[in-house]
């Protein structure tokens, strides 16, 4: 309040309010990130076994166990604060498994996973919203009935089931490609390899987004303000994709933020089915081999990514409608 009146005359108070809320959001995200970092430290530090054991001990080769040289090389413990410091300074350690810095290896793999997750996520968001709006305004049209029926039927069917069904369908004719066989990366090869995983993840997630969006739109569609908009003589298209959309978007986006974790999960599983060399595959391997730094790195990166998506969703909500969260405040209730 003080700032608004005196300190910062160049900020009008709407912007000020916006910044304040954003700052609040950022600090709370900061807390979340901090907790996650600590969690990753604690959980991983307590993993039984270590890289040395996984790598060298369960072999029938007769490697001399207890070789202090190797062991000490692979079993460095930096302690919690060291870890915090390293994380903050982006020195995320070294992946023994891939003999590269964790950030580098993640940097190599992340784009592929991102492409999978983000394209599937946004496909489902955009498709879901589009279908949701279009069917919601066509109540009791056969198309609406069919799409609602179909989407309700397949909503929540696990990605791996979709992937498996795709595998069945395509293993008879077109072979699901494996990214690994490719020697070169060109747009078309990548697109070719991506298509089934992406479609699997997207198909598994579209129904959910669709139903959420449609629900939201149906409630908003009877909002009197739509009548006002019609009264202004605006076109149907404009009303649908401006008025309806910005009313339906905040709840849909906030659900999307939550769902994003699930999409990521689904992507990991689909990676498994299609032998897609993404973060999921990397993570399984890292866990199996106890590549501690890589485990932490992947955990943090995925968590950060989910946070980022949530943040993005929140920010978009804020931009669309700065008071979305205010209306859910507990202050008036206490």
């Amino acid at each position: 309040m003080m700032i608004r009146n005196s300190g910062l005359p160049f900020l009008d108070f709407k912007t000020y309010g916006f910044l304040k809320r954003l700052l609040f959001l950022l600090t709370s995200y900061f807390v979340v990130i901090f907790v996650l970092i600590s969690l990753s430290y604690v959980v991983v530090a307590n993993l039984p076994g270590d890289y040395y054991i996984s790598m060298y001990e369960n072999t029938s080769t007769g490697f001399s166990a207890g070789n202090a040289d190797i062991q000490s090389f692979f079993q460095k413990e930096i302690g919690y604060f060291g870890y915090l410091y390293d994380i903050v300074t982006f020195n995320w350690g070294y992946s023994f498994l891939y003999a590269k810095p964790v950030l580098q290896i993640i940097g190599e793999v992340l784009p592929r996973s991102l492409l999978l997750v983000v394209s599937a996520g946004f496909l489902s968001l955009v498709f879901g919203l589009f279908l949701g709006i279009e069917t919601a305004v066509r109540k009791s049209h056969p198309i609406e009935k069919i799409s609602v029926f179909f989407n309700s039927a397949v909503d929540g069917v696990p990605e791996f089931v979709v992937g498996l069904l795709f595998l069945i369908i395509f293993s008879t004719g077109y072979t699901p490609p494996s990214l690994s066989v490719a020697e070169d990366y060109t747009f078309f090869t990548i697109a070719g390899y991506m298509i089934l995983p992406v479609v699997s993840v997207a198909v598994a997630n579209i129904p959910g987004m669709f139903l959420i969006a449609r629900n939201s739109v149906i409630t908003d569609m009877v909002h009197p303000c739509i009548l006002t908009a019609k009264g202004k003589g605006l076109t149907d298209f404009y009303i649908k994709y401006k008025h309806l959309l910005i009313m339906a978007l905040p709840p849909v986006l906030s659900r999307f933020g939550i769902r994003f974790g699930f999409i990521l999960t689904g992507a990991l599983v689909v990676e498994n089915i299609f032998s897609f060399p993404g973060l999921g595959t990397l993570f399984f391997e890292a866990i199996q081999m106890r590549d501690v730094n890589l485990i932490r790195g992947i955990f943090l990166v995925s968590a950060l990514f989910i946070i980022l998506m949530n943040m993005l969703a929140d920010t978009v909500i804020h931009i669309i409608y700065p008071f979305y969260n205010e209306k859910r405040d507990i202050n008036d209730v206490l």
């Binding site: 709370s28 995200y29 807390v31 979340v32 996650l36 969690l39 959980v43 991983v44 993993l47 039984p48 109540k139 309700s152 039927a153 397949v154 909503d155 929540g156 069917v157 696990p158 990605e159 791996f160 089931v161 498996l164 069904l165 595998l167 069945i168 293993s171 629900n215 149906i218 409630t219 569609m221 009877v222 009197p224 739509i226 939550i258 974790g261 990521l264 999960t265 689904g266 990991l268 599983v269 498994n272 993570f283 399984f284 866990i287 199996q288 992947i298 955990f299 995925s302 968590a303 989910i306 946070i307 949530n310 209306k327 859910r328 405040d329 507990i330 202050n331 008036d332 209730v333 206490l334």
Partner: protein
């Protein structure tokens, strides 16, 4: 809605048969020759270890369903309790709780589950508990939002103005108001639990010693190269899809029933 009823009936029958098997027969089915094709004695043939697939299938449906009910029930109960607690405890605890939701929600569940299962392959019970612990937050978040908007409603403000206690208001007004949401959440979480069980077992993250649909799919897909698609792989896949659709339709139905009086007519 017709198909919905029929599916409900089918699920009911399947669960009942599963129950029958659990009660009457030895819980573990007997060994026969592996990979028998479907025949009179084994309507769906036998699997790699020589179990009658139909028996395994029914037991799996039963187990998966019971698991899902357990998980969703626990999730919703915990979620509802914690989602309603903030109006009683105050602003600080509400803040803490909300941060807890936020943290739990952004934790990549699967990664944490992989962690846990690398410590020990959790049994279905333990895995269920972990899922509950990771999932209550989403329920709480929704319930809290609904509860708070309920607490803001005019008649509750008036009740409070007339001196009603918070507890009294909670049981008289808030809980009935939340009931539809809770039911819908329950259905959602039921679906989520089925989903999670199938996915995690498929990935081999849950102890594979009890029967479940995920386990069936996992084992059967190992033999994708054999002629077992129709009798072994697809039954659990379709059963899973059917149960999930059924749960969805049930949820849709509930939502419709609950929303009828809330929602206005389209303009």
């Amino acid at each position: 809605m017709m198909s919905y009823r029929i599916m409900l009936l089918l699920l009911f029958i399947a669960v009942l048969l599963g129950l029958l098997f659990v009660c009457l027969k030895d819980y573990e089915p007997a060994y026969y020759q592996p990979f028998l094709p479907p025949c009179k004695d084994h309507l769906l043939g036998t699997n790699d270890i020589g179990y009658d697939i139909l028996t395994v299938f029914l037991l799996s449906v039963f187990n998966s369903f019971v698991f899902a009910v357990f998980v969703s029930f626990a999730t919703v109960v915990i979620g509802t309790l914690l989602g309603n607690i903030s109006p009683f405890l105050g602003k600080q605890s509400d803040f803490l709780l909300r941060k807890t939701f936020d943290i739990i929600i952004v934790i990549p569940n699967i990664l944490l589950l992989i962690f846990f299962s690398s410590l020990f392959k959790p049994s279905m019970f333990v895995a269920g508990t972990i899922i509950v612990l990771l999932q209550w937050a989403t329920v709480s978040r929704v319930i809290r939002a609904k509860a708070i908007s309920a607490w803001r409603k005019g008649y509750i403000v008036i009740s409070r103005q007339m001196g009603a206690s918070k507890g009294g208001i909670f049981f008289r007004h808030i809980l009935p108001e939340l009931m539809p949401v809770i039911m819908v959440m329950f259905v959602n979480k039921l679906r989520m639990a089925l989903f999670a069980e199938a996915t995690l077992t498929f990935l081999g993250l849950i102890d594979l010693s009890s029967f479940s649909l995920g386990k069936m799919i996992r084992y059967s897909t190992n033999f994708y190269y054999l002629d077992v698609w129709w009798n072994w792989i697809l039954p659990p896949v379709f059963a899973l899809i059917c149960i999930i659709s059924l749960v969805n339709f049930f949820g849709l139905h509930l939502e419709k029933v609950f929303n009828e009086h809330i929602r206005g007519f389209p303009v």
